[in-house]
């Protein structure tokens, strides 16, 4: 298993795709951190709740780690490398587990970078503007740690959805449609169901306290359950289908 994980990590490192995703992530986090940190009027940055919105900007990394996860499997189908990959390891469930593990590791790297950047910029902005830091250490740890865990899990979710859908563009459009539209509608109109979505579970895990959100621990459990269930579905889907 270690060998497969090493091989998968090399796949992630050996193309420029990952570099592009990291660059996109950094640009977006810097943009939103500065936008929120500099344009929000000081009275709106006083409460822990307000500041959490700013300090949590790093969780945008989840979008990019999900994309990295998607690439991990769909680019193999797109470029045909799935054939040699399966020839070298025909135990497909084994291979997908290795991909999920490599995805999680890559996700942790994205999460560390994203959270460090987002929290760092947020903290610097508050300090520079002379606004006192309002979060307790525990709250800050939850924001950063929860964000980190969520970003890592998103990579596994991306890989799993990629394994189910297989088509790269289809997977990305599907995930974006879910995250930007469907999830928001669901949470707005049926919050009792919508709060169990991966996105809302993530919000809960990061310590956000909007109405209808689950408690942090439950949010974490729900997000882990999503990643696990989708990974199992991806393994089952991959085991059954022929590779053309």
């Amino acid at each position: 298993m270690i060998d497969q994980i090493r091989a998968e990590l090399l796949k992630i490192r050996s193309t420029r795709t990952t570099l592009g995703l990291v660059a996109g992530m950094v640009a977006l986090i810097v943009f939103f951190a500065l936008l929120t940190g500099l344009l929000t009027k000081a009275p709106h940055l006083v409460t822990p709740e307000d500041q959490r919105g700013l300090l949590n900007v790093g969780s945008i990394a989840g979008l990019f780690s999900a994309l990295a996860g998607v690439m991990l499997i769909t680019s193999e189908y797109r470029h045909g490398t799935i054939r040699p990959t399966f020839l070298f390891d025909p135990r497909r469930s084994h291979l997908l587990a290795a991909k999920a593990a490599a995805g999680l590791l890559a996700g942790i790297a994205f999460g560390l970078a994203g959270e460090a950047l987002g929290f760092g910029l947020g903290y610097l902005t508050l300090t520079a503007r002379g606004i006192p830091f309002a979060l307790t250490t525990g709250q800050a740890a939850l924001t950063v740690g929860g964000g980190l865990a969520a970003v890592a899990l998103w990579a596994a979710i991306g890989a799993a959805v990629g394994a189910i859908v297989r088509n790269q563009v289809g997977t990305i459009i599907g995930l974006l449609a879910w995250g930007l539209i469907i999830d928001n509608l669901l949470f707005a109109f049926v919050p009792s169901v919508g709060r169990f979505s991966p996105n809302r579970a993530e919000n809960a895990l990061e310590g956000l306290t909007a109405k209808h959100l689950l408690p942090a621990a439950a949010g974490g459990a729900v997000l882990v359950a999503w990643a696990a269930a989708l990974t199992i579905a991806g393994i089952l889907a991959t085991a059954r289908r022929d590779v053309t």
Binding site: D3, Q4, R6, A7, E8, L10, K11, S14, T15, R16, T17, S75, H79, G80, T81, R83, P84, T85, F86, L87, F88, D89, P90, R91, D242, V243, T244
Partner: protein, 306 residues
């Protein structure tokens, strides 16, 4: 009927009543064969005959609808680290364009616990070390074919399965491939190489497996196939019926190509000339056919048309 190598215990590759159905299409239809270790087999058939589908089943990428596909006695997916015994190339284009050739090989060698030096050795073996660090995007088709081969060689396999490896190669590349396969087989290893052009593999293979419309047409040593062709004689005569009768009395197989022309099989122009002389049939033209295996191949694969 084709003569089958019956050595299921020792066979490197076995298809047992192998079938594959895609919806209403029966792509592979009750195919059975066995390949002895140490042989080079040409797996031939026109495009769409079911060659690639058969290879996919042998390599565990597709599940048979019926029957079994065995490599070294087991289904591919049940072998422990199969890449160390079997090397295969199905498509010449199975690379990420943005990854270097060397990195492509390293992702594969790592996955089975081989060191990176194996990747470098494989690159040397296919003469790609100059391009090792370049991204595959900039490789020519011939270089991609060789990179695919390098991937198949990583595990130092005893069996090589190649699907249309000569596709898109220039004549130099075809010769390189031929030399390579001969060299590989000279070490007592087994090769199964598919092609839709017999001439590509005729100089390399010991035996041929010809399929058409998913069914086995012929499994025979190449020499046997060659014998069927070598003695074709094309004859033009104003009295084809009388000549045909005379030739048939001598047990010579005849096919009429048109009103005034005959094709005699398994004989020589000298013999046909003497028979015609003895029968008093005038000949306008008497040509020993230098053409070829390709004709036999086309005949064999055309015969099966409904």
């Amino acid at each position: 009927m084709p003569e089958t190598t019956r050595a299921p215990q020792a066979a490197a590759v076995v298809a047992e009543s192998l079938s594959k159905r895609f919806g209403r299409l029966l792509a592979v239809d009750d195919l059975s064969f066995a390949l002895a270790p140490g042989t080079i087999t040409g797996f031939l058939g026109p495009n769409g005959a079911g060659k690639t589908t058969t290879l996919r089943m042998l390599l565990g990428l597709a599940a048979p609808s019926e029957g079994r596909a065995l490599v070294f006695g087991s289904p591919y997916a049940e072998l422990e680290r199969p890449a160390l015994r079997i090397g295969a190339v199905l498509e010449a284009t199975d690379f990420h364009p943005g990854r270097s050739g060397r990195d492509h090989l390293r992702t594969l060698s790592r996955s089975v616990g081989l060191s990176d030096t194996r990747a470098d050795q494989a690159l040397r073996r296919v003469e790609l070390e100059q391009a090792a660090k370049r991204r595959v995007k900039g490789y020519s088709l011939g270089m991609r074919q060789r990179l695919g081969l390098a991937a198949a060689l990583l595990g130092d396999p005893e069996l090589l399965i190649l699907d249309e490896p000569a596709n898109g190669l220039d004549p130099e590349g075809v010769r390189w491939l031929r030399d390579f396969l001969r060299d590989f087989a000279a070490q007592g290893r087994t090769v199964l190489v598919s092609s839709h052009v017999l001439a590509e593999v005729a100089q390399t293979v010991d035996q041929v497996l010809i399929i058409n419309r998913g069914r086995l047409v012929t499994e025979s040593p190449l020499a046997q196939l060659t014998a069927r062709v070598s003695g074709s004689v094309r004859i033009r005569t104003p009295e084809p019926d009388r000549l045909q009768k005379a030739l048939e009395q001598e047990q010579i197989e005849i096919s009429a190509t048109n009103e005034h022309a005959l094709l005699a099989h398994g004989t020589s122009s000298e013999r046909v000339g003497q028979i015609a002389f003895a029968a008093g049939v005038p000949l306008y033209e008497l040509v020993a056919e230098s053409s070829s295996l390709e004709d036999v191949f086309l005949q064999l694969t055309a015969k099966e048309q409904p």
